[in-house]
């Protein structure tokens, strides 16, 4: 029952990622075609000025943190599913779960801190 719940979250996370990562990819790799979220049109989407402009918007910072959490869950749960199909021993399964949870939380902490710090720095730079 618990695994069914995790699987349902995995699928729901996939739909959220489809939207948020789709926006991220459209912004970063199709900015020339769409002009989406390009604050400095003369520069590339990935240019420092455009990155800082996006970091300075609260909606982007919140979006990055949500995408970070949801994508980490989706990716690490997917990896866990693949590893569990190798018919591991119960103790190994438990260890794999613990390692993935710790890795996920650590990377979420790092990414969320960076997003908030970059947001604050962009606001200071804007004045």
């Amino acid at each position: 029952m618990r695994e069914t719940k995790y699987w349902t979250w995995h699928m729901a996370a996939g739909v959220v990622i489809f939207v948020l990562l789709g926006l991220h990819m459209t912004t970063m790799h199709m900015g020339g075609l769409t002009g989406l979220f390009v604050s400095h049109p003369g520069e590339e989407s990935v240019a420092r000025v455009n990155s800082q402009a996006r970091d300075g918007q609260l909606l982007f910072t919140a979006g990055y943190i949500i995408l970070l959490g949801v994508a980490l869950y989706h990716g690490l749960y997917g990896l866990r599913t693949i590893l569990f199909e190798l018919t591991l021993r119960p103790t190994t399964e438990k260890s794999v779960s613990v390692v993935l949870v710790i890795l996920g939380l650590a990377l979420f902490g790092l990414g969320a801190w960076a997003a908030i710090a970059a947001h604050s720095a962009a606001l200071v730079a804007r004045g």
Binding site: M11, F18, L21, L33, G75, L76, T87
Partner: protein, 145 residues
């Protein structure tokens, strides 16, 4: 608690990657996993690399460490993996919810496979993935700036 009976992985890697008689959807499943693992590997590194921007270091911008053809090619491969994984994943969610798989029917000989019923969804999703890949690819090769 019931003990799970464990079996040897007698098919090995082929059991994971091979489609056998299951058709193109089985290969789509294997590719979904491979692209998922590739994207995850990139994503974990991406979190660390982009975190440096908190200290004012933008490693992906012009003249910086990641502004090299090798990394651009790698980035395009990740983009291609994303395009496939996203649209195939959407297909999997729709199929899981019972969309485009047809109504259930009693199995009467000669048996029919249900794979043909969901094949149009597979084709539609792959066309969408290809369109996104072309649009993104145009920017990677510098046709759209």
């Amino acid at each position: 608690m019931a003990e799970i009976k464990r079996h040897d992985n007698r098919l090995g890697l082929w059991g994971w990657l091979g489609g056998g008689r299951w058709g193109v959807e089985r290969y789509a499943y294997a590719l979904h996993r491979l692209t998922g693992l590739g994207i995850l590997f990139y994503f974990l590194i991406h979190i660390v690399v982009t975190s440096f921007r908190a200290g004012g270091i933008y490693l992906w911008t012009k003249g910086e460490m990641l502004d090299k053809p090798m990394f651009k090619v790698g980035e395009f491969l990740v983009f291609a993996a994303f395009a496939y994984h996203a649209f195939n994943g959407l297909r999997l969610v729709l199929v899981e919810l019972g969309v485009a798989v047809g109504k259930p029917f009693e199995p009467v000989y000669p048996y029919k496979t249900s794979l043909g019923v969901q094949r149009p969804l597979m084709i539609a999703m792959m066309i969408l993935a290809a369109l996104v890949l072309v649009a993104g690819g145009a920017e990677f090769v510098g046709l759209a700036k």
